[in-house]
């Protein structure tokens, strides 16, 4: 039996030196016994002292990086088994280099389990350390804490980053951590009496803890799973728990039994006044402001349900040229203005090339709410149907009546349907002036998003040229 004595409980370097030497000498895991100085072992006296562990020749063997990530964490576990488990893994890696990938192997699973418990202990330390003010003058704080595993040293840098400008000490039975605004230092384990016994703010913290608790939904098991009892004695708020649990049912019953109280008369009067002043609806709008307000509350079809807002037209109230698109897209729906997304940018470029100032035109859509379907987490555009186009003509007609443009340009088939009231194919009717019943002239052309979709370069250039030509035609008709 080969006995190895390590200098202290978390002596990773000592373990590493010894393990390296023993594996090089072929000491099987079954014949190794790991202890920490000061611990008595069963084999005391019955065994020859271990030979001094000289450093192994450099480059004797290599281990996967995952092992070097795992081992320093496992060693912080309080189980006595940890050194032997790690040595067994190290031993087995000789013949099974991929061992650590087999998470379902019993040894690997055990090591992962230890590492997870250590990780949890570190996380709980970050959560449950409670500082008490030790010196108002220095703004210095001291905490007493009992970690589930030996994580104090490993967790100290977290506190130093978080409280870089505050002096603190965390006292634990294993190691004590101190931060002096510049450096972390460590001293041997301490006693709870070394920390302050109270803090003036704890009364406020307990008040908060008791008030944020909802007695109508008691779930004691869920609480204890995350805040195990072993931590309670150092948590100022935990003393309240039994009382809060005991009173919960009674408090809930009282709430449920209580008859609703009468609201004060002042409140009732104010409500009546508000409902009387509510806006009055129903008549056709006579101004663009009324259109904008109306579109946003429109329930003429169901598209409002999944959309953010109704998107009214934009532009001067006396524009000579009125553009009608299809419907707002994802970006327009969020922003509340027409033609601001990718198609809108394409539209702006074409207008610039055709010499049409957008600010002198009125730009709107045939349908004012964004019709889409969800694909995964994306909203994908869906063409509005004839019913929706018809329902929304109420608003388009109002806009045309108020703006009274000389020329109405329909961008795409849906817009043409809305403007002319019947299918008006773009390919057949584009490039010419068409008479509209309200004495305006109509032009039909492509929707700018069509230009985004044309696949090959030659066709794209051709469509672009036609689109720009149509915009120029419309502008000249309006002049």
């Amino acid at each position: 039996m080969q006995v190895v004595r390590l200098a202290y409980e978390t002596d990773f370097d000592g373990w590493r030196r010894a393990a390296r030497a023993m594996r090089a000498r072929g000491v099987a895991p079954e014949s190794a016994l790991w202890t920490v100085d000061g611990q008595a072992t069963l084999f005391d006296g019955a065994d020859e002292p271990a030979p001094p562990l000289e450093a192994a020749p450099a480059g004797a063997f290599r281990v996967p990086k995952t092992f070097m990530d795992l081992a320093p964490r496992v060693i912080l576990h309080r189980s006595d088994e940890r050194f032997a488990l790690l040595y067994r893994l190290l031993w087995r890696l000789q013949d099974e280099p991929d061992l650590l990938h087999i998470a379902s192997d019993a040894d690997v699973a055990r090591a992962h389990h230890f590492a997870r418990e250590v990780g949890r202990a570190a996380h709980k330390m970050k959560a449950f350390v409670r500082f008490r003010l030790a010196s108002e003058e220095d703004d210095a704080y001291v905490a007493w804490f009992e970690p589930a595993h030996r994580v104090a040293e490993a967790t100290a840098p977290f506190f130093a980053r978080r409280f870089a400008n505050m002096r603190f000490s965390i006292l634990t039975p294993d190691t004590c951590v101190h931060w002096d605004l510049a450096e972390l230092s460590f001293t041997p384990g301490a006693d709870p009496a070394d920390a302050p016994s109270e803090d003036a703010l704890e009364e406020y913290w307990r008040t908060y803890y008791a008030s944020i608790f909802n007695p109508a939904r008691l779930k004691v098991g869920a609480m204890q799973k995350e805040m195990p009892k072993r931590y309670w004695r150092n948590l100022p708020e935990a003393a309240l728990i039994p009382e809060l649990i005991a009173q919960a049912q009674g408090r809930t019953d009282t709430m449920v039994r209580q008859a609703p109280t009468e609201p004060s008369r002042r409140v009732v009067k104010a409500a009546v006044r508000n409902s009387r002043d509510a806006p009055w609806e129903g008549q056709a709008p006579t101004s663009l402001a009324e259109v904008a307000a109306g579109v946003d509350h429109c329930r003429r079809c169901d598209l409002w349900r999944d959309a953010t807002q109704g998107v009214p037209g934009e532009g001067p109230g006396k524009a000579k040229l009125l553009f009608v698109g299809e419907q707002p897209g994802d970006q327009e729906d969020l922003a509340g203005t027409p033609f601001v997304g990718p198609a809108g940018q394409m539209f702006d470029r074409a207008l610039a090339e055709a010499g049409v100032p957008r600010t002198e035109t009125y730009v709107t859509n045939a349908v004012k709410h964004f019709k889409h379907e969800l694909r995964g987490k994306r909203r994908i555009h869906k063409t509005p149907d004839a019913g929706e186009v018809t329902a929304c003509r109420w608003w388009l007609d109002a806009e045309r009546r108020i703006v009274r443009p000389r020329v109405v340009v329909s961008l795409g088939a849906t817009a043409a349907l809305a403007v002319f009231g019947k299918a008006t194919p773009v390919g057949k009717f584009r490039g010419q002036a068409l008479q509209l019943p309200d004495q305006a002239q109509g032009v039909v052309t492509y929707h700018p998003s069509y230009l985004l979709r044309v696949p090959d370069e030659a066709a794209k250039a051709k469509a672009w040229a036609m689109f720009v030509a149509d915009l120029k035609l419309a502008w000249s008709l309006a002049a």
Partner: protein, 407 residues
């Protein structure tokens, strides 16, 4: 009016805030107090729960209202104008001092500040922003801040809130627009949606690397919202459909579901029966399936349906789609494995790793999962095939968690 001491104010204004389920301090950027003059850090990934109340909820942030005076009259809310609950109001400095005092003692990760609406939306929003600004600029506080946005507040104030906050939220409150109109008459769904849309545009702009004049930052932990479950007649299907559309339209990080719970001084406009807490739990499970397991809402539940309270939605889906099972744990792709009830994201990733080196047997799967019995009917391993078990008529009884009898 009597002057309230700070402890009494804290009791009133935290009691008033507890119906907001969110307490997360996760998902922000990584930063700490080194090189600054104050305290605080955030870890980027998951937040820290500093305590748990006996209701099983995590306490991560100091979650309080600036004031519970409110001009709105939302039936489900304890702070509605017509309620006779005790009222209080913090000063900006009081909130700042409490936050820093609690933070330095390691009680909290930061502040979650909300407020009743007093005077006007802009006035209220300005007060909320003032607290955050003082914490960040005067005290160089680098902990987590979650601010509630007032939907009607001006865009400039919302943008300033986003500058100081890690996360912002606006509660949609109820799954159906019609219920909001009847239960919360002053709240305006259109206004809420518009505000969420504006937040998403600001987030997108802050992330857009191509822009020359990129705004400095905007709520790096994104936005979240909350829906109250059981205060109106909406089905689970309708609730999840709303979540689905909120995730899609506004890129919300989280939708919180809060089972309507009895409040002191309730109004007669509310149902007497409160929903079982397990309903809320099932909704969260379904929500996770949509966000992390590649399920579409329509696969989980139809719009007019409710979730099965006895079994989790993934198991329910598997029982309805037995034709897709058993799945061979040694050959199936990730998407298929994620659909096996009882296998979580982590177990699946481990299986995929192990599989590169050996064929998995039942014992292997057992060590990688929690409970092998529930998995058996749905899996094929090197040494296991469920045979006719998958198609047995009484499969549900076999895999359903046992109801314990009161002894």
């Amino acid at each position: 009016m009597a002057v309230l001491d700070l402890k009494r104010k804290l009791a009133i204004l935290s009691d008033a805030a507890k119906y907001d389920a969110s307490c997360a301090s996760s998902g922000s950027v990584k930063r700490d107090s080194r090189g600054g003059k104050g305290v605080g850090s955030t870890d980027g990934g998951m937040g820290i729960c500093h305590a748990y109340a006996p209701d099983g909820r995590c306490i991560s942030l100091l979650k309080i209202l600036l004031t519970n005076f409110c001009v709105y009259d939302c039936a489900y809310c304890v702070n509605r104008v017509s309620s006779n609950t005790p009222r209080a109001r913090f000063t900006v400095d009081e909130v700042v001092d409490l936050t820093l005092g609690f933070y330095k003692r390691n009680y909290i990760e930061g502040l979650f500040l909300s407020s009743g609406i007093i005077r006007s939306a802009d006035y209220t929003m300005e007060e909320i922003v003032r607290v955050a600004r003082t914490l960040r600029e005067v005290h160089d506080f680098r902990g987590y801040i979650h601010l509630k946005l007032i939907p009607e507040a001006s865009p400039a104030l919302v943008n300033e809130a986003g500058l100081y906050a890690d996360r912002v939220s606006i509660n949609i409150e109820l799954p159906k627009d019609e219920s909001l109109v009847s239960l919360a008459p002053e709240k305006d769904v259109a206004g809420i949606k518009k505000a969420m849309g504006a937040v998403r545009l600001s987030e997108d702009a802050a992330k857009d690397k191509g822009r020359k004049t990129r705004p400095p930052k905007f709520a790096p932990a994104g936005q979240s919202t909350q829906m109250i479950v059981g205060a109106d007649a909406a089905t689970d299907g309708a609730i999840l459909k709303r979540s689905e559309s909120l995730y899609g339209a506004y890129r919300l990080r989280r939708v919180y579901y809060s089972a309507f719970s009895p409040i002191p001084d309730a109004t007669s406009r509310l149902p007497l029966q409160r929903p079982p807490l397990v309903r809320e739990h099932r909704l969260y499970q379904a929500d996770w399936l949509m966000r992390f397991y590649g399920f579409q809402r329509a696969e989980i539940i139809g719009e007019a349906e409710d979730l099965d309270l006895a079994i989790d939605p993934k198991l329910a889906w598997a029982l309805r789609n037995r034709g897709d099972f058993p799945v061979d744990v040694n050959t199936a792709d990730r998407e298929r494995l994620l659909r096996v009830p009882g296998l979580g994201v982590r177990a699946v990733d481990r299986i995929l790793d192990v599989r590169r080196f050996k064929r998995l047997e039942l014992d292997d799967v057992k060590r990688l999962s929690r409970g092998i019995e529930k998995l058996k009917p749905f899996l094929i391993c090197a040494d296991w095939s469920p045979g006719a078990l998958t198609d047995r008529a009484d499969l549900r009884q076999k895999v359903e968690p046992r109801q314990l009898d009161l002894f």
